[in-house]
Symmetry: C2
Subunit: 133 residues, 2 copies
Amino acid sequence: MKIGELASATSTKVETVRYYEKIGLLAPPARTSANYRAYGNEHLARLSFIRRARDLGFTLEAVRELLTLSDDKAQSCDAVDSIARVHLADIERKISDLAALRAELDRVIGSCRKGTVEDCKIIETLGPKDVRA
Amino acid sequence: MKIGELASATSTKVETVRYYEKIGLLAPPARTSANYRAYGNEHLARLSFIRRARDLGFTLEAVRELLTLSDDKAQSCDAVDSIARVHLADIERKISDLAALRAELDRVIGSCRKGTVEDCKIIETLGPKDVRA
DNA sequence: TCTACACCCTGTAGCAACTACAGGGTCAAG
DNA sequence: CTTGACCCTGTAGTTGCTACAGGGTGTAGA
């Protein structure tokens, strides 16, 4: 399989595949006589794994750990579970941060009276509390 | 006011203040004889504005626009409102993306039976659908 | 056979928004 | 007079790609 085929089979860009190889996430494949990368099914499986983990929002560092763990079939699943839970907690924190942000932004936008910038409540909100320059 | 004072007054790092100056977001202040940056209240106000907008999740590009708009007091507030609304939509999209992610991750984690990696449902979920390498 | 075109290669630079040095200078206190 | 906290410039690192530039390869049609 050439890089373009692998890429489209995994909805990845060709550059990204090469990038994963460069950072050691995807093993360097064999080369053809023309120096083209020749991938096998093991690469396809590996890259699919990476893509799915990325789609779930895992960082590349977490993906790297998950890949290492997944290679040791006899090992306990605890470490995997732990990585996933940490990631979940992270996502939950982000969601609540964004929810707070939305509430605040809702409030700010709601206060807009469509006048001039002079008495724009949005700009006013952004301005400093005490200092008026 | 020296840069350290300005920074701590706005909960910003010194490097970030210099960075904002470098990218033209914060006007270069006067210098002391020792070549130290000497800030006035107008800088404090400006940086406070930037920080608040950033805290609300506006990109630096959006902040730049908001600053330009806020300087033209006679102008209609529409453009400001529009920037804020686009940003709100963006936040809402992010929230729903993350909520979907959380649901999926919840499902994956819930399936963990605490066995070995061999039959770990999390790893299995990440693996490819059809291809087994 | 020529040539156009899609694909492949390497290597480097760019994006956002900072952060972290390295290698210096300045200033007030003890 | 020295210690330590601050200041300066400039550059490189972070994450996860993406986008060239400047080449080589392979195949299909005229």
